[in-house]
């Protein structure tokens, strides 16, 4: 694992990143340092990419049950550019606005990417969350039925984005839980 060209970030780039994301100056510089340590040798940081495996093994994401979904939502063509990493950190930062977090949470939880969280997605979510082998079929079905009866407003057995937003707007715990600290400085 080599290192990128050790270049300082230009002042204008830093300003631009600060304007386009929710990250503070220090956070952007910390992510820049981490990125430089991981990316392949000899490349300028703006052109270098990280593989999905490299990002999945970051300490912040390593034990997250949804890390593959997070990587899939934020990467393009299965690689992460520096700006992809910044976007990801921005969505998960403390200062991000609720609507952005809800939007990306919806995308992460939509496993089959059909624009809705249906029963199949819910099943996969519950299995990831409980991660045990003794989840009976009955419990799973029961649970999914209860979730849908709470949040599905138009009774079509799926959660559209508006219904998901409505369900999350009722819980302040969501804003506090949907956070990841990517930087170690």
């Amino acid at each position: 694992m080599g290192q990128c060209l050790r270049s300082q970030m230009h002042w204008e780039d830093l300003e631009e990143y600060q304007a386009l994301t929710f990250l503070t100056r220090n956070e952007i510089l910390c992510i820049h340092n981490t990125f430089l340590k991981l990316c392949p040798e000899g490349k300028y940081y703006k052109e270098a990419t990280l593989t999905v495996d490299q990002v999945s093994s970051l300490p912040a994401l390593r034990v997250n049950p949804f890390r593959d979904r997070i990587c899939r939502v934020f990467s393009h063509d299965n690689v992460f550019s520096f700006e992809d990493v910044l976007s990801m950190a921005s969505v998960f930062s403390e200062q991000a606005c609720p609507s952005l977090k809800i939007e990306y949470a919806f995308r992460i939880y939509d496993f089959n990417e059909n624009g809705f969280i249906d029963e199949e997605d819910l099943q996969k979510i519950v299995l990831r969350l409980l991660n045990s082998d003794d989840v009976s079929e009955d419990l799973l079905m029961d649970l999914i039925q209860h979730v849908l009866s709470e949040s599905d407003l138009d009774n079509d057995n799926m959660l559209s984005f508006t219904e998901f937003e409505h369900a999350m707007a009722k819980s302040p715990d969501f804003m506090n839980s949907f956070r990841i600290h990517f930087w170690r400085c």
Binding site: A19, P59, S87, L153, E163, K170, M175, S177
Partner: protein, 668 residues
């Protein structure tokens, strides 16, 4: 690249660009930041909007003005962001808190955040006291006749009595340096400093309470049992592998508990079972109230006996008996209350936590209440030489003994339990951090500080030091002895309850004690800044009288007589506040009705949608088999109806979300 171009050229993209152009640059930056698109797209969007904006013709004067405003706001934003970054970089313990949150989750983190928040109050009070009363007093030559022995740190008496620590040391004169230098009236300074710091604490508590209440109000929605919340609100901040596994196990337990709770609600108890449960509750409440009253009576008689005991015995350590007994009661009785859980059965585990909290609060506040009653009725009216200093010393001793007991509990109790558990009884090892009990201890100590600030101005400093040490001790003990747990703990709701407890019995109680002191009691005649006056408040009356004679300050006198001193003003103010509250309440009720109606409409439209979809599929199947032409028209009509229904469905769901978010705004 092509995707971005396509999006920006599309209808939605064009609409976005036209909506961004007339905005101010601040709003534009905010809107672009909030877009859920990649950074490349945002950058292109920003460039396009800037280009469009520069193409627009504008008048020179208006553009000059707009340009100036833009650059001023840009500088302001830059300086604000760098200032906030500076503050967060010097913010205390940030890294430690992140580590705790990562290992133990948001619930335990909330205890440490609460501690940090209380520390800020104490730092503020200390700085205010230090600058306005302690430093002026220190400029006067003091005299300390007693020698220093080590025992003072525990008892607060002895040589500490004649230092700036206690009320009795302060002078009642007007400090003047030089014959024509500025004068500093110590009486007014004392009462105003303490008054102002308490008023600022009051408003900031009110503000925090309102903010948490608004964000975390226990939502009276009909159809939310919180299972969807459990599924979708996984705590992404946890980064330790063991903690994640434990959280998964606890989540599975909680889900099973919730599901069985729902089943349980449909179970009706027989009359005998209901009677048994009801009588168990009544018995538990009687026992707990009885124990609390017994403890209060014991403390009161001990306090009375103590004063006679002290007159006969001259051992300076004997004053520590009362604080020792109070701290023992605070240690043992809450654990006794927790044992009631073996006898009482609650429908929901949440109720158990709340009832335990209420009982503990009742115990602690009644002990403080009985002690205040004793101090204000007996000590203040006795012929002691300097009763305010005596009360200050008592409060100091209580606070210190409480701190020593907490330290001992952490260092000895928790470590010992782990060692015993590892060697002998395995089940003892799994300790979970009892957040409610620890937060109540913090609230108890803070109540004592607020009561004692009048009698002992250095008390915030002592509380600051003790909070500082407690943070590190609890942190180390947590990491070495405790397991993470997430047992049915709604962190945000509990924090709201704690701040409410801090405001309602704790701060308002302290304020009322101080109000009684200032308005009803006679200051001691030989010490302190108010010596010789019939009441403490007399100093303010005298000051208003002196202002009467000076011509330039009549407005102060007017404000005092007509606003603060008159009943009519407060009556009218209360009436206005009540009317505004009533109007807001009616608006909220109206919105709730609208939400219910919209929800019913959405369900009906959903049924329509399913019906039309079934009809459509049936027609399509029949089309394949039979004559197509007759059926095509019907199929087209059904498709149009389906589109209309889907459109209405979308609008109504959006309306529902909007109304719900007006009533219960999403917190940040």
């Amino acid at each position: 690249m092509k995707e971005i171009e396509l999006y920006l050229l599309s209808f939605a993209g064009q609409k976005l660009i036209t909506s961004l152009i007339p905005m101010t640059s601040r709003d534009r930056i905010k809107t672009i930041r909030n877009l859920p698109r990649t950074m490349e797209e945002k950058r292109r969007l920003r460039n396009i909007v800037d280009k469009e904006k520069s193409k627009q013709p504008h008048h020179t004067l208006h553009s000059c003005w707009a340009h100036c405003l833009d650059s001023i706001s840009l500088d302001y934003r830059r300086s604000k962001s760098s200032l906030s970054e500076f503050f967060s970089s010097i913010s205390l313990w940030q890294k430690t808190l992140k580590v705790i949150g990562g290992k133990f989750g948001t619930s335990v983190l909330s205890y440490f955040n609460f501690l940090k928040w209380l520390l800020k109050f104490n730092i503020f009070s200390f700085i205010v006291n230090f600058s306005f009363i302690i430093i002026p007093q220190l400029t006067l030559p003091g005299r300390n006749t007693r020698p220093f022995t080590g025992l003072e740190i525990l008892t607060g008496a002895g040589s500490f009595t004649e230092t700036v620590m206690y009320y009795g040391f302060y002078t009642n004169s007007t400090i003047r340096h030089g014959s024509s230098g500025p004068s500093y009236d110590m009486q007014l300074a004392y009462i105003f400093t303490i008054g102002v710091s308490l008023v600022i604490c009051f408003f900031s508590l009110l503000y925090s309470m309102a903010k948490y209440f608004r964000n975390n109000f226990i939502n009276p929605h009909l159809y939310s049992r919180g299972i969807a919340k459990l599924i979708f609100c996984w705590d992404f901040t946890v980064t330790h592998e063991k903690a994640v596994k434990l959280k998964q196990k606890n989540l599975s337990t909680e889900i099973r508990e919730n599901l069985s709770e729902i089943l349980q609600e449909n179970v009706k108890f027989t009359f005998r079972q209901q009677l048994a449960r009801f009588s168990a509750h009544i018995a538990a409440w009687l026992v707990s109230t009885g124990v609390a009253i017994a403890c209060c009576a014991a403390v009161y008689y001990l306090a009375e006996y103590n004063s006679e005991f002290l007159k006969t015995h001259t051992n300076p350590g004997a004053v520590l008996l009362l604080p020792f007994v109070v701290s023992c009661i605070n240690l043992i009785v809450p654990r006794f209350y927790s044992m009631f859980g073996l006898v009482e059965r609650y429908e929901m585990p949440r109720h158990e936590v709340y009832i335990l909290l209420i009982r503990n609060v009742f115990l602690k506040m009644s002990i403080i209440g009985i002690l205040c009653y004793y101090w204000l009725n007996t000590v203040a009216l006795s012929d002691e030489e300097c009763w305010e200093t005596l009360i200050g010393q008592e409060i100091y001793r209580l606070l210190l003994m409480d701190f020593v007991f907490s330290l001992a509990n952490s260092v000895l109790g928790e470590f010992l339990r782990r060692i015993i558990g590892m060697r002998f009884i395995k089940s003892l090892v799994l300790q979970e951090f009892d957040i409610a009990r620890n937060v109540l201890e913090l609230i108890y100590a803070q109540t004592l500080v607020w009561i004692g600030i009048f009698f002992c101005p250095l008390l915030p400093l002592i509380q600051m030091i003790s909070l500082f040490i407690m943070f590190y001790v609890k942190n180390i003990s947590l990491r070495m002895n405790f397991q993470p747990s997430n047992k049915a703990w709604r962190a945000s709701q509990m924090i709201t309850v704690f701040i409410l407890l801090l405001f309602f019995p704790s701060f308002t109680g302290a304020l009322s004690i101080l109000a009684i002191t200032i308005w009803r009691l006679k200051p001691s005649a030989t010490c302190g800044p108010f010596r010789g006056l019939p009441f403490f408040i007399q100093s303010i009356y005298l000051w208003i009288d002196t202002l009467h004679r000076r011509s330039g300050y009549m407005w102060v006198v007017w404000i005092y007589q007509n606003l603060i001193g008159s009943v009519h003003f407060f009556f009218i103010l209360t009436l206005i506040v009540l009317i505004i509250t009533y109007l807001y309440w009616q608006i909220t009720e109206g919105r709730k009705v609208m939400i219910r109606l919209l929800h019913e409409q959405i369900i009906n439209e959903g049924k329509d949608k399913m019906f039309l979809i079934e009809k459509l599929t049936k027609l399509q199947e029949m089309e394949k088999i039979e004559n197509p032409r007759a059926l095509i028209l019907e199929r087209r009509q059904t498709e149009v109806r389906l589109h209309v229904v889907l459109g209405t469905l979308g609008t109504q769901t959006c309306l529902l979300v909007q109304s719900a978010s007006l009533n219960w705004p999403v917190g940040s």
